[in-house]
């Protein structure tokens, strides 16, 4: 059970991508703003990311990808969330993702994508305005 009322986010790196500057900066900005943040560490498989999200009972996954594998890994995580009955976990993310791909991923169910030049203030605002801490009444 999480501390009441605090949004809980799993920040994740999936695939073989080692670029962790962005994910760490965002994780820290979210944490400094009072959001509960768990970081997966590098080189996780989509299965590991989803398992961690379910186990940690998070409200959202923030996935960072700078490897060009976004059109494979984002949809894979969406599928796994559905098959794990965890479709209520919101998936958002960021990285070097060209505009046409951003549009396609959003259509597929990724809630928001932050591309190069994004401000952590905007990311924090977005998380606060669009995520709600899950009610655990029935849990």
């Amino acid at each position: 059970m999480t501390e009441s009322g605090r949004i809980r986010v799993l920040m994740a790196k999936a695939g073989l991508d080692g670029h962790d500057r962005g994910v760490k900066v965002v994780a820290r900005a979210l944490r400094d703003s009072g959001i509960e943040v768990i970081y997966t560490g590098l080189h996780q498989t989509p299965e590991q990311v989803v398992a961690a999200a379910v186990q940690e009972d998070v409200d959202a996954i923030g996935l960072s990808l700078l490897s060009g594998a976004h059109m494979t890994i984002f949809p894979r995580i969406l599928d796994l969330l559905k098959s794990e009955d965890a479709g209520d976990i919101v998936l958002f993310g960021g990285g070097t993702i060209p505009d046409p791909d951003v549009a396609e991923l959003k259509k597929a169910g990724v809630a928001e994508l932050f591309t190069p030049g994004s401000s952590t203030l905007d990311i924090v605002d977005w998380v606060r305005n669009n995520l709600q801490h899950k009610s655990h009444a029935s849990a």
């Binding site: 500057r21 060009g68 070097t96 030049g117």
Partner: protein, 550 residues
């Protein structure tokens, strides 16, 4: 001004009158080093010109490693390239050679960097995406098809499985009839900065260093014109470090390699002349020039005084430079051409031996041919139009540049002392020291951008809402499927007992802690794959997982 050229109080008084008040602006370098309004001879009054600056081509090499620098030979214009299958990258190499590049540089895809084959499930979605996919010697033969290896020098950005790719390069040479002794180029092969910054690894740090010593020992004997290591600050800086951190951490890595080789029993002068470096050139012009000059001076002093190298070639820091990817913006991407030109100019005025200029679209995707051509032309304009190559170290003797060079050096020496207190680079990595220092610097910079204490044109200043509209290179999604098909074909057509035998020998040699290079070369010749070879050693060496530092 007094007779020594130092700043005098009466000048400061005249300058600081109300009409001369400074505007409200933070006069600091990109790395937050405060900068004074004026530098004079007084800023270096304790310095000994001959001892600290001297002449180019002479100890301590502050002004450059050659007497005549670019009047003798220009830097190598070396554009990093790799995407898709080996045949795609081979076409890009031919394009670059036709347009005047003077050296090749291979970018490998993430699976190759991690020692994995294209058919491993963990590689799905990543094959050929951020570099070229190489699984076996068959791919390497295609990559260099029509490129005689005795006529071109090749740099390979590969680290954890560097020994495997080096062996493949030697084997391609054999097929072309080019002896290993004739091969020239550079292997990045700097595993320490992987744990510190770039984060593409296979084995734990100590095992990674052991493999590097193996390749250094092997090349010094068999491929004497090849640089076995390119000790890299580039990725440390891209991960968010300051200029001083880049300088200090990289040279500390270099010292670790030197000490590891000496512990193996190699004489310092037998390998040190072939050690090379790789720096970032960021957007703060003078800070970068000072960093390059300080780097040469620090290294030569360490090699001569600390490690007792006698051969002057061991004292030289030869380096490659790449302009800063992180300085580029997705917004108004054409502006990146200007940023890259200024960064390239700093590298040239800092005395680089080779240079990669980033393309304007690299913040969005891998570069298109057109963008790469502009990046290369930028170097050609600097070399052939601007006149900056006409004299050696034109910024040498500038009060400001020399003072900043001194500050860079003393900042690095302070870090060396801290690293020594931690017990060296390997314990520092285990304790997360470097990772945290870099993470702090990256976070501080991001906050400064958001408070507009630092500017990025088009991002937090002079913003416009025009959509980003430049062509983007798209990787054919079919590349992954066809690469897996090619790999399957290689696996069925090779001599199975030969491959299995070579891999067994390699495993055994790894257990015996022998130099594994000859065994890897045998396995490669039989078309064993990158992953098969990496796995054969992993049994003994183990694998690495980083604690999740935030």
């Amino acid at each position: 001004m007094d007779k020594d050229g130092a700043l005098t109080p009466d000048f400061e008084e005249r300058r600081d009158n109300p009409a001369g008040r400074e505007r409200d602006f933070s006069f600091t370098t990109l790395s937050d080093q405060p900068i004074k309004p004026l530098y004079t001879l007084g800023d270096r009054e304790d310095a000994d010109f001959a001892l600290d600056i001297g002449f180019p081509g002479e100890y301590p090499y502050t002004r450059g490693i050659y007497h005549n620098m670019y009047r003798g030979r220009l830097w190598t214009m070396r554009q990093f390239a790799g995407f898709g299958a080996a045949s795609d990258t081979n076409r890009r190499f031919h394009y670059l050679l036709e347009h005047g590049v003077t050296g090749l540089s291979v970018a490998f895809d993430n699976p190759t960097l991690m020692g994995m084959d294209s058919d491993d499930p963990r590689s799905f979605g990543e094959v050929g995406r951020t570099g070229v996919a190489i699984d076996s010697l068959a791919d390497m033969e295609t990559l260099f098809d029509g490129i005689p290896l005795d006529q071109v020098s090749t740099s390979m950005t590969i680290n954890a499985p560097a020994a495997v790719l080096l062996a493949m390069y030697v084997a391609v040479g054999e097929k072309q009839g080019v002896a290993a002794s004739k091969l020239t180029g550079t292997l990045q092969n700097d595993i320490l900065k992987e744990y510190i910054a770039q984060k593409e690894w296979i084995y734990p740090p100590a095992a990674g260093v052991k493999l590097i010593v193996d390749t250094i020992e092997f090349t010094s004997r068999e491929i004497p014109k090849y640089n076995p290591v390119s000790i890299s600050g580039y990725h440390i800086r891209e991960a968010g470090s300051t200029a001083v951190q880049e300088l200090a951490f990289t040279i500390a890595d270099g010292m670790t390699y030197v000490e590891s080789c000496v512990n193996r029993g190699l004489a310092v002068d037998s390998f040190a002349p072939r050690l090379s470096f790789f720096w970032n050139s960021h957007i703060d012009f003078f800070e970068e020039v000072a960093k390059f000059r300080a780097a040469r001076r620090i290294w030569s002093r360490l090699m001569r005084e600390k490690y007792g190298a006698k051969d002057p070639k061991s004292w030289l820091m030869r380096f490659h430079t790449q302009t800063a990817g992180v300085s580029l913006t997705a917004q108004q991407p054409e502006n990146n051409i200007v940023r890259t030109a200024l960064e390239a100019l700093a590298a040239v005025l800092g005395g680089t031996q080779s240079l990669h200029t980033n393309s304007m679209d690299e913040v969005l995707a891998l570069p298109t041919e057109k963008a790469v051509e502009i990046a290369l032309r930028t170097q050609q304009i600097i070399a052939f139009e601007t006149g900056v190559v006409n004299t050696v170290d034109p910024l040498g003797g500038s009060y400001f540049v020399e003072a900043l060079t001194d500050e860079m050096e003393s900042g690095a020496l302070e870090y060396f002392a801290r690293i020594e207190e931690l017990g060296g680079v390997l314990p520092g990595i285990e304790q997360g020291f470097f990772q945290r220092e870099i993470g702090e610097a990256a976070f501080r910079y991001q906050q400064q951008l958001e408070r507009k204490e630092k500017a990025m044109v088009g991002v937090n200043e002079f913003v416009d809402s025009a959509p980003i509209d430049i062509p983007i290179l798209r990787i054919d999604p079919d590349v992954e499927r066809s690469q897996r098909a090619r790999l399957a074909e290689v696996k069925t057509s090779r001599n199975h007992p030969q491959v299995a035998g070579a891999l067994d020998h390699l495993s055994a040699a790894t257990r015996r802690e022998e130099n594994v290079m000859p065994y890897i070369l045998d396995a490669v010749r039989g078309y064993a794959t990158v992953q098969e070879i990496s796995d054969a050693m992993k049994v003994t060496l183990g694998s690495y997982r980083e604690p999740a530092f935030v």
